[in-house]
Structures are given as structure tokens and as C-alpha cells.
Symmetry: C2
């Protein structure tokens, strides 16, 4: 059974509970929304491709979830509240079961965060999914990567590396266990740290989400802030599930260079550090200069693999 | 030579002249823009795929132009002024000459309309291009497809069918001539009717852009407005270039069912019709009921082919 573009939208992407600030939703040439005068608009767009951002054969519900989650994570890193999204779906064919599961994964997460789907496009083509999310933030109160200053403390939320460990456990066919299920869920269903981002809005000096690996993303934060950083590897939170399935060196590699965690990496002035929520850990300090260095047992160590550059599809090196 | 994601953005998609309402542009987790309190935000997203929306081998400059133009056309149909865009570029490889030409086509058109590129994503994958454009419109002054009333006059801008004739002349390898060059330019470089849309904002009762074919898009306008229409085929503007290269029946088919024109189809109350700009032609009238019918020489005629549904990749029929 083949469905046309309008059938697909009407059947699978209509939400019961649209936001009141959506003045015109799906179905016209464009959508219309209202922005409160004391808010700025924050806009993020991410694209995911089978075989690049998720393994072939991933459940469509997980793909739908991910397509939105990676964008919510960007909005969270700005300290903004997500509001609306648009969806571009390029699909080779309109398989009903796939669409049902994809839209369920997407819209369940959208509902959880109060996000309305206001428009988009469905086309016949190779499977490529793009979501744009717009959010709102108090005037002059958004976070950027550029505000870190020497002496600020460096924090990471959650336990970095678990998503990379989950992906590896899928790719390597690790036997199912509580640990592997936990890690795979961390990869397949990353939780965008929206409420943490909102808390950080008046607390952090700089923030970004970790999608390509802790160290390579820290490099970007430091470049934007014109500073360096020193990471105390011993302070990076460790995952019991990860340690159960992988050796210590692999766990360290996942934690420092694994992508897809969608945790928040942020900096806070030392006098405000006590206010940082317990879900985040202090893992280092911002320094003068431009170098991101690592310590283990108090001694400098060189970490060769730092993360992933999706486009050049090569490992990022220092 | 392989370029990473950040190199691509910095090298090819940096604009010299960013808008002052762009508070944070490309390079962070998300962009931040300011919306004037007396404006609503209008959002459109379109995706184009090689082989579906443009022929394989199309000049990358034309692809870049098209990716933005189709979105500007949606914004124009709402009566809004385009402001910013985001770009998702899924590319199998980062060929420098392709990127140079693509970005030139995209950014030249953006500059012409005062649109800033504020963010997006570049990923390795099959060639799929998504652009989202946001525009601004005066509070409660946007156009929709839903406002047409029986008795309103029906207008179309420009000369519909030329883009389909241009595509056909490319596909059929019609020898180059002034006529074929004109038509091919109409297909490759459709002019979004932004200034006309702005004029229509206080004049039209309903509007949409014609992307899938005049009759099939009129069907959508009538469905949204809960009305019918009667099109006087003899009043549909004819193109001398089209008539030079194609027979009368083919020209009529292009005009009524050809896609990709990106002209504006709109309705105006008869008492305001004198104010409609001369670039548009009155081609019929809105009626009671739900039927879109056609007249030729004053007699009802049945037109089988009405347009194109991109997803089901079949001709739209009544």
C-alpha cells in the first residue's frame, strides 16, 4: 500500500495536544507561531542517516526518538525550553509499520517535552531524517560555548561513554544482560538534559552537549572560549555496566572519546560550584592558553583518540 | 581532499552580511534570533532529492538556488518576509567544486532576499538537502489556503507550465534556443514571489504556491477553504516560449498540471480585484461546493492530469 505525502502527515504525525502558541500548524504552506516579547528564539537542526548515526536495522521507534533527542540536546545546551519542531523525512518507501513506529518514538518524546510538530516535508528518496527544533529562552540569558574563563570548574552530566559502549555492544553482538540492555538503551534512547540546561542558564559560564566525544567536544568549547582545560581522568564518572562488559582501557576510551552521549559539558565559576546539581560531576578546570590536557593519578597523560567527526568519518585527533 | 564538518561550514557557508537580529549564528549548539513583538514567526521546510526534485547532473549552483527558492516560495505564499534559514546537507563526499557552486547558488539568492544562514548540519550520506526558512509577518496578517469564499476571483502569478516545459526540454534534449534557455531557466531558477506575497497580505483571501501543478494545488486550496472553483482555461496565461517548442495539448497540460512553477495561486474578493498587481492573471472564480471544474470556450471540460504527488511518485488524479 502506497501513501501520499498528505496521507502520511495526517495519519502519523498529527498530535492531539498542540501548543496554544501554534497559530497555524501542519497543512498550509508554512506554520505560524507566536513568540513572547521577553523571549529569544533558539534554533537547532540535526540530520541522522542510517549507517552513520544509527546501525542499519535499528527499530524505527528508536530512530524517531533519536531524530528529536539530538536536537533537544542542542536546545538544552543553550539553556532554552524546546517548543516546536519541523520534520523532513526522506524515505525510499512508505511502509506503514515503519511510519507507525517512527512517529510513535518521535511524538512520545515530543509530548514528554511539550514540543509541537508544526510542519516539514516528506519525500521519496534515500533514508535521511532531519529535525529542526526551536526553543525559547529568556532575553540575554542563553548559554554558549564561548563563556568559559580560566579558573572555571569543568563539569559533565551523567556517565559519559555509556552510549558508545552500548553501540559497541550492539555491533559486537554482546550477549544480552542487564548491563548490555542498560548501555544499549543509553545509546538508543539518550535523554536530552533539558531541565539541567534550564538550571544552568543562570549558573554556567559556558555549555555544550557532547555528541562527538568528551575530549573533542571540550576542544570545541575551549576554542570558542579562547582557553584551555585540564581534565582529571580519575574524576570522570565511571559506569558499572560499562566496566562489567569492557576492560579498563576500553572504558576509558569510551568515556573520553565515545560519541552519542548527549550529556552536557559545562563550566561554572568556583564560587557558584556548590549550586551545580548532583547529576553532574566536576572533572577538571579551565586554564589559560589553548591546550586541553589530561591527568591520570596526578600525572599528565596523552590521549590519542578524542572523538569523531561525522562528515570526514575519521577519528578526531589532537 | 576531505573536509570535516566544521571546515565545510566555515569555508563555504559563512556570510559577510549577517542580519542584526541574528544574536548568535553558526558555530554553537544552536542559533539565537530576536523576533519583534509585533511580528509572528512563519516557518517552512522543504527537502529536495536528486532524481526526484531535480535531474541527476544538475549544476550544484542550481541545486543550492532551488533548495532555498522552494522555501522562500512557501514563505511568500504566507505573505511573510523571509529572514533566516538553516541548512541540512547530506552528501556522499565533500567535493570542493560542488560545495563552492552549491553555496554560491544558495547564498546569492539568500543575499538577494536578505536571508541569513544561521545554522544546520552537514553529514555524510546520500545526497538529500533540506532547508528551513523562517520569516516574519505582521500579527494576524498572514495568508493561508483556507480563506477563499464563493465569489472570490482566482488569480495566478506569472505563466504556469514554463518550469515543467523547461524540465521536459532538458529531459528530451531539446536543442538549445532562446525559448529552451528561457524555459530551462524557469525550471532551474524559479523566482519566489516574495514581494507579490507581501502585497497580497492585505489583499488576498487565500493564497498558496504552486509546486505540484495548478489544478492539484487548487484542489488543496479549495479543500482547505471548503469551497469549489471554476477555472477558465482560456484565461490561463500562455507562454510564447512554451508554444514555440511544444504542441497546444502539451502546453495546456504543462500549464494545468506541470509542477515546479512556484507561482502564487490566490483569491481576492471582486471589489478588491482592481488592486491586484498586473503580474497576476484572473483565471477563474471560487464557487460553492467542493468541485474544481474547468471551462474551455465556455464549455465544461474534464482535465485528467492535475499534478504530481512527490511521495507516492504518481500523477495526481481528480
Amino acid at each position: 500500500m502506497s501513501l501520499g505525502e498528505f496521507d502520511i502527515i495526517a495519519r502519523y504525525f498529527t498530535q492531539a495536544d498542540a501548543r496554544s502558541d501554534v497559530l497555524l500548524g501542519i497543512g498550509d504552506d508554512a506554520a505560524v507561531v507566536a513568540i513572547p516579547p521577553d523571549r529569544r528564539l533558539v534554533v537547532a537542526m540535526d540530520t541522522i542517516v542510517e549507517g552513520v548515526h544509527f546501525p542499519a536495522g535499528t527499530d524505527a521507534a528508536d530512530i524517531g526518538y533519536r531524530a528529536l533527542a539530538v536536537n533537544l540536546s542542542d536546545i538544552a545546551a543553550m539553556g532554552a525550553q524546546p517548543s516546536w519542531m519541523t520534520l523532513s523525512l526522506s524515505l525510499p518507501h512508505s511502509a506503514i509499520s515503519w511510519l507507525e513506529r517512527f512517529s510513535a518514538g518521535l511524538l512520545d518524546l515530543a509530548r514528554h517535552h511539550g514540543v509541537s510538530l508544526i510542519g516539514g516535508d516528506t519525500v521519496k528518496g534515500p533514508m535521511v531524517i532531519t529535525v529542526q527544533v526551536a526553543g525559547l529562552v529568556e532575553t540575554d540569558r542563553w548559554l554558549t560555548r564561548a563563556g568559559a574563563r580560566a579558573g572555571d570548574l569543568l563539569f559533565i552530566s551523567g556517565t559519559p561513554g555509556e552510549a558508545a559502549a552500548g553501540l559497541a555492544s550492539i555491533q559486537q553482538g554482546v550477549p544480552q544482560s542487564a548491563a548490555s540492555r542498560h548501555l544499549q538503551r543509553r545509546f538508543l534512547r539518550p535523554e536530552p538534559r533539558v531541565s539541567l540546561g534550564r538550571e544552568l542558564r543562570t549558573l554556567a559560564s559556558a555549555a555544550m552537549d557532547v555528541s562527538d566525544g568528551l575530549l573533542t567536544d571540550l576542544d570545541k568549547l575551549c576554542a570558542a572560549s579562547h582557553c584551555g582545560a585540564r581534565v582529571d581522568i580519575d574524576k570522570v564518572p565511571t559506569s558499572a555496566a560499562m566496566q562489567e562488559l569492557f576492560d579498563a582501557a576500553t572504558c576509558a576510551d569510551f568515556a573520553l572519546a565515545g560519541g552519542d552521549d548527549y550529556e552536557l559539558l559545562f563550566t561554572v565559576s568556583p564560587d557558584r560550584a556548590a549550586a551545580v546539581p548532583a547529576s553532574a560531576s566536576c572533572i577538571g578546570v579551565i586554564t589559560e592558553g589553548t591546550t586541553v590536557s589530561c591527568l591520570r593519578d596526578g600525572q599528565p597523560v596523552t590521549v590519542a583518540r578524542r572523538g569523531y567527526d561525522h562528515f570526514s568519518a575519521k577519528e578526531a585527533a589532537p
